[in-house]
Symmetry: C2
Subunit: 215 residues, 2 copies
């Protein structure tokens, strides 16, 4: 039976043997940047190694293989860039301003000047060869989780008497997710900051009129 072991990188010194000569999470961030700019398959091990400042054997020893490195990078990305926006949407009691500011946040994230444009989860592994199905499925399940997240927040909005009880949660969540994913492609294709913010501002019109009934 496994103890809930701490994350490997937080352990200061595993035990004996030659210590690792590079910072694992720093290397992961460099890899994230490469995957983000190029996509999963176009990113080569050679380019990843150059960006990470290490050699292939170190990469494989620390991360397993290219797919695992990518998935770890995607997970890191998701938490680093989207956690705050998700928390804000959950902590905002009213679903209307919650959705409104979530999409405003999203517009800013997708065109963050210190990062590549668009969402890694949406763009990096859309068209991959059949032998990378595992990676495609992983990002797809993350996209599905995003849709479920919207659905749960909307459901709470219904239970709180803000959204009408007749709201079709599943369809509305899919609509919001489609909007968010479409914004990623707009970002990748070079839309301006103000214009994308304008697109995000339209999203609130997709919600039904506020319910007049109390919960």
């Amino acid at each position: 039976m496994n103890l809930p072991s701490a994350a490997p990188s937080t352990v200061p010194r595993p035990s004996k043997g030659r210590p690792r000569a590079f910072d694992r999470s720093e290397a992961l961030e460099r890899a994230l940047d490469v995957f983000w700019r190029l996509g999963y398959e176009p990113a080569t091990i050679a380019e990843l190694c150059t960006a990470m400042g290490i050699n292939p054997p170190s990469l494989y020893a620390a991360f397993g293989n290219k797919a695992k490195l990518f998935l770890e990078a995607v997970d890191f990305y998701d938490r680093k860039y989207w956690d705050a926006a998700r928390v804000a949407l959950e902590e905002e009691a009213d679903v209307y301003p919650g959705i409104e500011s979530f999409f405003a946040d999203a517009a800013a994230i997708l065109l963050s000047p210190r990062a590549p444009c668009g969402c890694l989860v949406v763009l990096a592994a859309i068209n991959v060869s059949p032998e990378s199905t595992e990676v495609y499925e992983a990002v797809r399940s993350m996209r599905r989780a995003g849709k479920t997240f919207f659905a749960q927040r909307l459901q709470r909005g219904v239970e709180d008497g803000q959204l009408p009880a007749s709201t079709d949660i599943a369809v509305l969540a899919a609509t919001l997710k489609a909007m968010l994913e479409g914004m990623s492609i707009q970002a990748r294709d070079g839309i301006g900051q103000a214009e994308l913010a304008g697109v995000a501002a339209h999203v609130i019109k997709l919600l039904p009129p506020r319910s007049t009934q109390h919960p």
Copy 2:
């Protein structure tokens, strides 16, 4: 000075020499299917040849190279699957039902049971290696053309006094395009027909309230 020569495939007999042993446009459709299912870079020449029923030298003699074959296939796709919906949107005098039925059409196209899911222009060349920049730029410019098409139709809606004069055409067109592209990803990720139709039905809410002024 070039005469406007007819399309090569419509010419019944070019001239002398051994005649081609396969139907060029039929082979193009087979190639389209492969690119659609796999994406531009994951589709290999070997797989394309198998699907087209020809060998590599015939492919290169008839289409130039992989990139040109892809671009020709994308062009064919765009005309075959989207021309009717575009014409309908232009011929519908009122922009509101025009947009509404355009997105209903789109939902049906993106989940057409006899075709792969999602739009080839959106999905097939999103994440490509740097040496395929030419192909990426080509599909990107097609996406831009789609946005411009929306913008022109909305502009006509303003001029016809249906949309308010204060409508921000550029932002609204970008919003519609984001919605359409997001629907492609939903389709690729396995959304159901009814649910995608529900998403499409939400789009009309993105348009501003109908103008009460006459043109």
